[in-house]
Symmetry: C2
Subunit: 235 residues, 2 copies
DNA sequence: CCCACTTTGTGCACCGGTTCACAAAGGGAC
DNA sequence: GTCCCTTTGTGAACCGGTGCACAAAGTGGG
């Protein structure tokens, strides 16, 4: 991949920084609503739950948008971060799978607020097709490719059972989509150039359980040598 | 914090490894269902979507459970990972906030499957309290502390609007809960020793949008020097 | 204009995590 | 028992990201 860019400033923003920009944006929007004109890195960092040095380094990757001795202009910084994240344009999102989760996502206000527009709902169940949810009519998943093209969908949210996810991912990718948010509990195989993000409720709970166990173990005096495969269990 | 453990093997499992163990577990369960007795690090790594060296190093933190020249015993490894994650015990989970998302979570099968049991649903809306969802009756959030104690809840899922989340977090922590899965779009402040995990749909979409913009920019020849605050916008 | 004060932007040391590459260990054939 | 093949477990180099600490830059008061 060629790395030559016309900009003098190299535009390689670290992934970890990108993941935090939405956090800063949210904190800044709260501040703008409360009428603050400027904010220091220290205050913004506290509001976003990070340390101030990290915040300053993150922002420095976008450019030099602060004023020493003063801080950052709230509105200006909101604009710069929004632009960097691509939220100044509007993104058509299709939700595939209109079960409990798909419905929740369709009705979730947080989507619409910032540049995202739910443009289509699709499902395979004839029982569900035709339902009206969040101002949209559920379409049959057979129409997937046509809908993606017609509505200029660029981001697809997969909220289907695990078994269907890979096949659907293949189809949306074939239809030209390169950004997928996957809620199905499977590891999707995708070609180079396609971005997948995964949200897995069950994994999050398991991570919590690990730490919870660790905490209670500590109080009750450790795992009591339970290192071995118990006799009772059958290999 | 005292770091003396009776075990010879130091039990400090890296956070990154903990986050992948559920992935391995899922892949292994699939293999067990298909009747595989043993699996090599290479095959398991492919199924989990990681590289095999990483997989082996991850598993080595749990102990030396493989056989050189052969691979890992599927059932045995399932047991070891489950035990490490604390899934051999059952965890009572309370879901606070029974809106669209809370309902979806309550009905989500993936919870129950592995050691987790939804033990309570709570909401502030009198309209919702008393509803029967997934075999449970929604209780009023005033009962929060009593319910946590009575049902021995150790993990709380917050699926409320952002405005209510911090206050509710404070209450569940005061009631003795130290593991929280937060879906509300706010940064929660919590004391030392409390584990928070956050799932934020809007942030995931924004990260996708960033990369999507980057990809389309590349095709259309870059951001065309759009570095400056446009004249039209009012500071 | 100059000085004291505030706050940004960043060089640098550090740290956790990833990857490579290989020695060690076990299995199976003969 | 010996040899060859497979696959694990891990030392070591590497890499991205974090946090400290400070110089540079700007503000406001006198």
């Amino acid at each position: 991949m060629i790395r030559r860019l016309s900009q003098a400033r190299e535009r390689g923003i670290p992934e970890a920084t990108v993941a935090r920009l939405p956090l800063y944006l949210r904190a800044l929007n709260g501040m703008a609503e409360r009428g603050l004109a400027t904010v220091s890195s220290e205050d913004l960092a506290v509001a976003a739950g990070v340390n101030s040095a990290k915040l300053r380094k993150d922002l420095s990757h976008l450019g030099s948008y602060g004023t020493r001795g003063v801080g950052y202009d709230v509105e200006y910084l909101i604009y710069q971060i929004s632009r960097e994240l691509g939220l100044t344009q509007d993104w058509a999102v299709a939700i595939v799978g209109v079960g409990n989760l798909g419905r929740a996502l369709a009705n979730y206000g947080g989507f619409v607020s910032r540049g995202f527009r739910v443009a289509a709902l699709l499902d395979a169940d004839p029982e569900v097709v035709g339902d009206h949810i969040a101002g949209l009519t559920v379409e049959h998943v057979d129409e997937l490719e046509a809908v993606i093209r017609r509505r200029a969908v660029s981001i697809v949210v997969l909220a289907t059972p695990g078994a269907a996810a890979q096949q659907l991912a293949d189809r949306v990718i074939a239809a030209g989509v390169t950004s997928i948010l996957n809620f199905a509990p499977v590891v999707l195989a995708v070609p180079e150039g396609v971005d997948i993000r995964k949200v897995d409720l069950s994994i999050e709970l398991q991570i919590l359980a690990f730490h919870e166990q660790r905490k209670t173990d500590r109080m009750t005096g450790g795992p009591a040598m339970a290192e071995e495969w118990p006799e009772a269990v059958d290999l």
